[in-house]
Symmetry: C2
Subunit: 373 residues, 2 copies
């Protein structure tokens, strides 16, 4: 794959990127799935309705399987390091959506990858998984009885056997498409991710099932690799190319990426509410240079990190969101007023989340097998 | 490592190679260990006495540990594919030697590597391990009660966790020293071999112990990699750089390498005795062009594949071997006569081995955990 054909790793593809995703990589518009869901009597999630989830592969296959009562699963992974934040929540809420439809849920704590590629110490990975990722995912609504959490290194059964077998089925070129410059650690991580995605299909993990993986567009090379490996194992192990959905990542408060290493741009679900509100209030916006100019030209919500927080999480009601958007565009809603309203919503949201989190604080240890080293 | 600094992969280093091994790579002459063994009251094996084992790293450390009653282990691996032959026996007999001294024995069936690097099917690897490698090793004298056989893919415990962690501690350059051209499969294999060598030091595999690995000189890059990884894990997992001994590989009957893929040059321990004798009788020798010339100049046992079979296996008595050698060099023993004598020895050897093999034919299955896929 030439660098021109790479997908923007920021996960906010522009229109040119979409065309490339659809035409070059064969990702299909999610709109067709939206229609299908409605025709099946399933209420699409806000992420789906609002175009945050914009593409898919084979999601129709998975939905057909689900509709005819076949076993289906949703699979994802988090690199456990630091605190759970608004970026992670995007995947977390998708897991909850599928679980409520009856999908089995597999959540990988990618401790091996964190250690090998990001130099996250073993202690930090375990601490972050047990104290941040797992409790927050449960507080978002994942049912602990119907969710399988695991650490990559501690995974029992033939999972590691798959990694060994997969190594014979892939090329360096395919891995370079994922990681650019390669290292032994990156080779290992790519193979391990393929096992994360594909191992739920084995009988040792509950029997054959269709799998969907919700990812950012930048993760598509992982999906393609897993799909290719699944095909290439034919005759040895029966695997089906996994389905995927593609979402746009939420903007950080400075317009860049939300990330542990950019705390000023990132809202953490367990941080003191006052601290989150302070950051929110100094967020970049899609506003104009002066109030006068903004009244005249209107704001630009599609460039606004504050509006992104509404779009993704803080305004679940579509008509309220639409009203905010039109008042912003029309110049009636100025940024100061908007932020004051948003800060209140954010505080309420975090308060409710942190309250429900209490019940899950010490729950994680009993839900997951710990790595030994 | 430049290609000039590579070790001859045929494993029969010439004098220039020895100097390189000793000076460039820090391998030490085995002669010093020979003396040490004698001073400890241990009778060296024929391979040691005869210079077949010619070098070592840290073998003195392992022997000191052994002498003071600390736990010690010998670790090796075989790629299970096809039949067990005279090339494999060289390592097999070394395991028996160490086991009789009280070393624990770990024998890896390198099924993952066979599959990934040599395209050996999973069925073939399991069949070959159960029907050929394990029974023949037992028939050579390994005590099934004190030998731990395992398949790489089926290995339980934190073995696979080590592979993940090790991937962060090595570079591509180090792996290229082992494999030349790299592929994902080769990266995986090199990391897995490091886990094979180092995992017996973990408490989950019987507690900390010193480890020695008997290898051909061509395998030294694996040893160096494992030693480097052991050092680099310091502060995370306590591992000691493994010791190693280095041996010269036995010549095939045509002067080349013994290998499954070169059956005419290779003596298999389970082949029909008549077939082995037939191949032996048409072996290349160190003889001259004519009988007259040979009587005048003498034969060249150090170039002779037939003499190699004596040196390694068929003439355990040193004085008999020395007499054969001097009669050959002196021109008294001609190749025809020598081969007739050797053929008889070979037939006897195989007869005895195949007889003792009977007891172990169906034993393997109960001694090793099978891979699932």
């Amino acid at each position: 794959m030439s660098s021109e054909e790479r997908i923007d790793p920021w996960g906010r593809p522009d229109i040119k990127d979409y065309r490339r995703l659809y035409e070059v990589f064969g990702i299909r518009p999610f709109s067709e799935i939206l229609e299908k869901l409605k025709s099946m009597g399933v209420e699409p999630s806000a992420f789906m309705r609002r175009g945050i989830i914009f593409g898919h592969r084979d999601m129709d296959v998975v939905l057909n399987a689900w509709a005819s009562g076949e076993p289906v699963a949703v699979v994802t992974g988090f690199m456990p390091s630091g605190q759970f934040h608004f970026g992670h929540m995007l995947t977390g809420l998708q897991l909850v959506f599928y679980q409520r439809l009856g999908f089995r849920v597999f959540v990988c704590m990618a401790d091996a990858e964190a250690y090998a590629v990001r130099r996250v110490s073993r202690e930090e990975a375990i601490k972050s998984a047990l104290e941040e990722f797992i409790p927050n995912l449960l507080a978002l609504g994942l049912d602990p009885q119907r969710t399988e959490f695991y650490f990559q290194t501690g995974r029992e059964g033939p999972y590691h056997e798959l990694i060994q077998l997969f190594s014979a089925k892939v090329t360096f070129n395919e891995m370079e498409a994922i990681y650019g410059d390669l290292s032994p650690a990156k080779v290992m991580s790519a193979l391990t991710q393929a096992a994360d995605i594909l191992h739920p299909m084995l009988k040792e993990y509950g029997g054959y099932k269709y799998v969907v993986v919700p990812v950012g567009a930048d993760q598509d090379p992982h999906i393609r690799l897993s799909r290719d490996i699944a095909t290439r194992m034919k005759g040895e192990i029966e695997l089906t190319p996994p389905a995927a959905t593609y979402h746009k990542l939420i903007r950080g408060l400075d317009g860049g990426k939300m990330s542990k290493s950019r705390p000023e741009a990132t809202i953490f679900l367990t941080e003191p509410i006052g601290e989150a509100v302070r950051k929110f209030k100094v967020s970049l916006t899609g506003g104009r240079n002066t109030a006068e100019e903004q009244r005249r030209l209107g704001g630009e919500p599609d460039k606004c990190p504050v509006f992104d927080q509404y779009l993704y999480y803080l305004v679940p009601d579509d008509s309220e969101l639409s009203s905010i958007e039109s008042r912003c565009r029309g110049g009636a809603l100025l940024c100061g007023q908007c932020k004051a309203m948003g800060a209140e919503k954010l505080a309420k949201f975090l308060e409710a989340h942190q309250r429900s989190l209490e019940a899950y604080r010490d729950k994680a240890q009993s839900l997951v097998e710990l790595p030994k080293y």
